[in-house]
Symmetry: D3
Subunit: 126 residues, 6 copies
Amino acid sequence: MIEYGDASAEVRAVYDDILTTRKTDYLNNFWKALAHDPVTLRRTWESIKQIMAPGTLDSVTKEMIYLAVSVTNQCPYCIASHTVAARKAGMTDQMLAELMAVVGMANESNRLASGYQVEIDERFKT
Amino acid sequence: MIEYGDASAEVRAVYDDILTTRKTDYLNNFWKALAHDPVTLRRTWESIKQIMAPGTLDSVTKEMIYLAVSVTNQCPYCIASHTVAARKAGMTDQMLAELMAVVGMANESNRLASGYQVEIDERFKT
Amino acid sequence: MIEYGDASAEVRAVYDDILTTRKTDYLNNFWKALAHDPVTLRRTWESIKQIMAPGTLDSVTKEMIYLAVSVTNQCPYCIASHTVAARKAGMTDQMLAELMAVVGMANESNRLASGYQVEIDERFKT
Amino acid sequence: MIEYGDASAEVRAVYDDILTTRKTDYLNNFWKALAHDPVTLRRTWESIKQIMAPGTLDSVTKEMIYLAVSVTNQCPYCIASHTVAARKAGMTDQMLAELMAVVGMANESNRLASGYQVEIDERFKT
Amino acid sequence: MIEYGDASAEVRAVYDDILTTRKTDYLNNFWKALAHDPVTLRRTWESIKQIMAPGTLDSVTKEMIYLAVSVTNQCPYCIASHTVAARKAGMTDQMLAELMAVVGMANESNRLASGYQVEIDERFKT
Amino acid sequence: MIEYGDASAEVRAVYDDILTTRKTDYLNNFWKALAHDPVTLRRTWESIKQIMAPGTLDSVTKEMIYLAVSVTNQCPYCIASHTVAARKAGMTDQMLAELMAVVGMANESNRLASGYQVEIDERFKT
């Protein structure tokens, strides 16, 4: 992991933008690990910055969708970091409980639909 | 698939509750396929009814989370049916676009975090 | 796909062993597609023949486990072919219903456990 | 995690039913973590109780199918806890070995079938 | 899907860059579907253009890695399009056969390692 | 785990072949864990030995494809061991960075293609 003090000017510029945009002085291990590849660091940050900015969906909704994906993929790092990020964006205990219930059920019914080889209804076809 | 007209009283009771709760006269193929196993049909419906009812999260947010999981798992039936369900609950084209962007990015960054074996930050530990 | 009549001696030897072992005169598309790579065809068949032979677990149990994996991975070809194979080995409608219920629930609870970052109980550690 | 002594009456009622049904005095971390959301705790337990009760499939077969899914999804908590549960239900070392061999092979052949874009045989279509 | 003739100036600029960079006059359905969200269309194309350009790894190696991921995820669209893309970049039948054999085996051994709860060797720790 | 000194003649024969083929005196935990099931140990080793031997694809390309699958599946053991194996076969930091970028992007675009229900282009059909 590349700490702020050891970072090249190129990496530090990305670090600074992360810290400023997120209004924090803490840099996640994720970024410090990516920093070994400054091209991927910059592209990933620019993409996340664009995608996660509030739009028609607000920040907490976007963070909850991010978390739903991470739970489905069972990525321990992403679950830990995005549970914290979603809470920071406003997710309460009750919202987390409802999110997890939906994620669990969707993972179940996805397999029932595929397992029983259910054909797509005509009206659902694009 | 078991059509409404061919359903047993037990199955018909579930069908009726689905149609009433959802204020529709159309029954998805998913339910007609599950109906071969009335126990699973009833349990799955009762669970989905409880989980998807508006709570702290409203219906459209719950449907979008459901869709995010289905896209991550790449379940064709579930993507088709829940894209329609989410639109019915209020998801606009712009909301779908933002949802898909978050789902795509989360699937990417999940692998970067796992692939680079990033350790969970102390402050993210429960 | 390489049909029996067009197969090289090397491929035909594998085809013959499949048909004899399985007591059938029908060759699945899976084998005809693999036949473009005779090395993988032979290795895959030899492995499957060894693994799926009745042992402490009987054929229907092995086929049901195979199907449970295929449903979890949502592989359409594998679900279609192994549902048929499991039925041929003795799986009834009721057994399929119970199998699918377990597969659905396991996929749900896997995400609840991972999503809530549940720590492994001391007594479950190897 | 909510310990038995700290649980509300609502949660304790579920805990008691788990301990009685399973004839044990040990409560898994999974339940203690779910207990923060009593609605999901109750629904999940009621579903698992119904699904995992011996039916046409006996307990050990159901536990092995559960384990096969957990291994495919690579859920560390679920693998650890359900390996123990399956052994308690009667799974021997040899049965575990055969289970793992089938799970491994199914995960391999699922990708060969999908990767080679094998078409579903007419006779396997529902 | 948005055809070239119906595209806005913004979308057409991306389409033109895709066609020029790839030295082709054929636009994949993937891009035409993404074009409903010009922001995601541009970001995705810019990222893919940067990532897939020959670097230390040549084009055919990158395309084969892309295909290996798509096969593992079992994405039918991606398998179909990237099998063609990899062949165009130089992948022969023999290379495809070796790729598929590795992908199949990795998917198998991933589950054996996780299922048997194998601890990471000290020397493999980062 | 079964150490070399405790292994049966049958297991030791496989261990010896692994050590000789790989020109090393270190045996991974993976093999020691598999050794409880000598049949699977032998079959898995014979398959891996055949598949990973340099062919049209050289060793480092095969190891990178193996790693790409392991990252996509998020198997911690496999990521740790195959990152080391790929480096031993010649993967540099720059090659790893390019590999990870492709793996991340493929995981993203797989979901965009599936989520938007993109139809397979006629010319990509087999």
